[in-house]
Symmetry: C2
Subunit: 406 residues, 2 copies
């Protein structure tokens, strides 16, 4: 019998308990022996709950119990999660976590420690919820150089943008609705400013590069400035707007970014709607692939955590080789990354056309039904630094800019 | 250094050589030591080709060479592939293959042999080409009871159906075009009759059930009877027609089928177009997930084979536990599986309406623009056996039936 401990009995923690209890029989078959929860750590008591007899308030109980081979950290936040995970690994216990903040910040050192102790530190649920993506990258796409990972990694913002696109609703209205039905937090900053997606793409970037990518180094722009007019232009151009988190290889360097992007109808991520997440991968041999599913939610996230627990139970005392070095990766400067830009300007196209052509070359103009007193255009492909310089001339008239994903 | 041998220098075999040579550096890093091809087995010689010096015509050279730890079978067909794979495993060599016919027929016994010899027999490329699906099922979705796998598993037929749907082309015309540009074989039977997809869903069914599912037991219907009119009705109903290979849990039993299905616009497989493959999975905890990519082609398929080679190289002399028992699984009788059916009848709706309602209950009638002298209807949900009995009454007037995937 393999005994495990679950740190935190919140949404994901109670989901992990539910998954293990519901699917006990098949899980035991897959592990090859019985997998049982010995402790649940939480500050609260849960009288009447199935876990009432295994609740502990003291992490030391778990740490000192040699029977506990796997610790499941689903508390969230950096502390005390980091200390508990570190101590668990040092004590020779494997750890599974859904904590993206912890992995983005301390992943490299915790993976190193797990390797030293010949145990495992796995975190499939930290990116894309229930979607298997980290293990496929580590164990399946190993014949490829991964040239691109672009994901819709935040369900809340994708739900909001989908509503804005299909229903013409404005940002504030959609945010309120998302909050009312529980898709968005009362303080929605982590989602709408892109911080959540940013930590996830930092983890993916570290995995494909094999080096530490700090989320603070990734340019991150949320969806708070996306307007009804932007969506009208997108529609008129046969495109949509999605919050993309991407990491791309450009020669020897990687560049990474989180921002709203205009996407063409042919792009595989175009039709990913609602709270779903999807991750597009391009390998130099594989070509295009995509992974789709529930990026959040109690049971899908718990499903991914339990997948890690089973993998750890099957490989007790045998490190699986997941890891990246603590050496920090220098990302390509966003100013050097080439793409097209969609720009909205106030005024009449006729008054600007000559000057714009002089500055940008041939432009593709766009009109959107019901949008008056302004016009839009798509620039040619150019480095973002060059765009910024050229745009400076028109600063007072530019209403907004959205990058284009080809 | 780990030495491997490639059996067969056809499309996939030359792809495997290309992937390993192109990505040598990253592959060696992932394996942890150098991975090199020592032999390529083929009946032919390849003067001037990079492999000319490592070609052998004699399998015994490979079998007797103890340096060769991994044998890559990419010849296709049952014999001599089966004998070579069996002998390789018996000699303590791991085997990676893309050969779906071999796996569907002899998978259980070869997996058992690999386990006895403490080596591995992997076959990711046999289902879905470059798409990682078998390893995710085995190593990631292990917290779930898989309740459904439904895939577009054949690129040729999906290309043809896509053309028929979007361009209104007829079957013969599209088949000729697919043959002319190399998407379909001169003898297209394996694709258009569904045999290829059937072997793949047999493998997936065996994996999720843990028992042998014989492809001969799976009802298999191809796309040869799909007409321009069928597509017109599909469009009129806001649906499309796809060749689906599916395996679903219905209580204690599994049912499996390959057939053309009508799909609603909201179904995740609706928008999978062209030669791409996609596999939809529903887990009892995970909910819906989908895996998408190139289901065939030299390099995508080779990418999956190389992923298996790397996994085997990382786990030499350690069986990874992939397997299903040789005990045959009894599938649910197709007559007991409940669904809706779309039926086309010649004549006037008015002449049949009363009798149809008497037989089937309330029907949903469909009209398609430009289709004269006939009408269509959707039945309520009912077991296929019941549908067949009721349809018998109208046998002489029924032009065709297509199942509906809800």
């Amino acid at each position: 019998m393999i005994k495990i401990a679950v740190l935190g009995y919140g949404t994901v923690g109670s989901g992990v308990v539910e998954v293990i209890r519901t699917n006990e029989k098949v899980i035991d078959q897959r592990v090859g022996e019985e997998l049982r929860i010995k402790y649940v750590l939480d500050l609260r008591d849960f009288p009447g709950d199935p876990v009432q007899d295994i609740i502990t308030h003291n992490f030391e109980d778990i740490l000192k119990d040699e029977e506990v081979k796997i610790v499941v950290e689903v508390m969230g936040g950096i502390e005390p999660a980091y200390t508990f995970v570190r101590q668990s690994l040092e004590a020779g216990k494997s750890v599974a976590t859904s904590n993206k903040a912890l992995v983005a910040k301390h992943g490299a050192s915790l993976l190193k420690l797990a390797k030293e102790k010949n145990v495992n530190f796995l975190f499939e649920a930290s990116v894309g919820g229930g979607i298997p993506i980290l293990r496929p990258l580590h164990s399946s796409l190993t014949g490829d150089v991964i040239e691109e990972i672009t994901g819709i990694l935040n369900g809340t913002t994708n739900y909001m943008l989908t509503k804005m696109f299909y229903e013409g609703a404005d940002y504030e209205e959609v945010l309120k609705e998302a909050q009312d039905n529980g898709y968005a937090e009362r303080n929605p900053e982590a989602d709408v400013e892109g911080y959540d997606a940013c930590r996830k793409i930092a983890i993916l970037s570290s995995i494909i590069s094999g080096q530490q990518v700090d989320f603070e180094d990734i340019y991150c722009e949320g969806i708070t400035k996306i307007t009804v007019e932007d969506m009208k232009y997108a529609k008129a151009m046969g495109m949509t707007i999605k919050l993309l988190a991407s990491c791309k290889r450009d020669g020897e360097k990687l560049n990474a970014m989180v921002a709203p992007f205009l996407l063409h109808r042919e792009h595989p991520l175009f039709s990913i709607n609602g709270v779903f997440n999807s991750i597009f991968v391009h390998g130099n041999m594989l070509g295009d692939a995509m992974f789709y599913g529930s990026g959040a939610g109690k049971l899908p996230t718990a499903s991914a955590v339990v997948g890690d627990i089973v993998e750890e139970a099957k490989h007790l005392n045998r490190n699986l080789g997941v890891g990246w070095s603590e050496e920090k990766l220098a990302l390509e400067d966003k100013k050097d990354v080439k793409r097209r830009f969609f720009v909205r300007m106030k005024g009449k196209k006729e008054d600007f056309e000559e000057k714009l052509t002089e500055e940008f070359g041939m432009l593709q103009y766009a009109k959107a039904e019901g949008v008056e007193g302004e016009f839009g255009f798509l620039t040619p492909v150019m480095p973002e630094g060059e765009y910024e310089k050229k745009a400076e001339t028109f600063r007072d008239s530019i209403l907004g800019m959205i990058r284009v994903e080809e």
